[in-house]
Symmetry: C2
Subunit: 202 residues, 2 copies
Amino acid sequence: MKIYEMKVAPNPRRVRMFLAEKGIAMEYVQLDLGKGENLSPEFREKNPMAKVPVLELDDGTCISESMAICRYFEELQPEPALMGRTPLEKAQIEMWQRWIEFYFLMPTGMCFQHSSGYFKDRMTPVPEWGAVCRDNVVKFFERLNRHLEHHRYLVGDQFSIADITALCTVDFNKVNQLGILPEQTHLQRWYKEVSSRPSAKA
Amino acid sequence: MKIYEMKVAPNPRRVRMFLAEKGIAMEYVQLDLGKGENLSPEFREKNPMAKVPVLELDDGTCISESMAICRYFEELQPEPALMGRTPLEKAQIEMWQRWIEFYFLMPTGMCFQHSSGYFKDRMTPVPEWGAVCRDNVVKFFERLNRHLEHHRYLVGDQFSIADITALCTVDFNKVNQLGILPEQTHLQRWYKEVSSRPSAKA
């Protein structure tokens, strides 16, 4: 069993952090996305979308998409639960997880790709769209700060996969020269607590 | 228990279809997004992102995000399973579900919003980005056709939530004047089968 990834990318990091929280050991194989190592026919056999991370099981079965990989391990080893235990907890964590993905991680990634032209050999950067995404990311930092005034973690008192995705997104925003403002004290408090977990270094 | 939605929008439809497959009755409350009925302070109390659908439980707890709503009911009533039964099935269905969302439904929605200016009172349309999304939607129709040459449903022989999301996305593409081409015979075959399920009329 192994995972193909690139260590500095945000999606692989959330899977590494998830597995570290579970205490699951994993072999990692590094690909250089900048050099297009993920675009080879061999890798597209593993993931036709040519994205990382990809989990390859010992029988050769491949699972793409960070959340599908996490789901696999959550089902195999439910504790510690990172996706909730009851139907309501599972729904609330998935809601927040998706809010973080759609309104924070995605615009963060699109701001980077459309503003920097990093992948311009394989996509069409639209700088005006990158600028819209940047505005949305800035607004979401503030939304997070307001939410965390009244909650220890994103979903109440329960550390979850939503916190993992949020932390990886905050840190990846360095590429956009964006981060938590000094006056966003609730977000600062949450960040300090979550980033001090041993899994944050995975 | 009730769901706030707008009947013609694609996300509410996939939740209605999911519930119909499960045989779960639901009360639906219609909002007119064009008139901005989802932007009121009252609705933002239910969903700060101001999107539909939103499930409101009898105690007032609200769950947003179509997949979180579906997850809630899948956990409460596992059969018929629409998100898989084993860890591997669950992961494979979630992988496909997310491929359909990220590479088909999202560009479909962004093509519509950025090309038509339908929501220009509440977002910044970038027509050049809408055109990029349109190209990606066209390519994904062809990718689906190739995949379905060798599979009855998106994930093998198992009808799943991924098929529901794909069907709703195909149909919603009418707003972009896009659809299945006559020569995409595998996709046509799948479409005929999936859209003939009673739940497709929900």
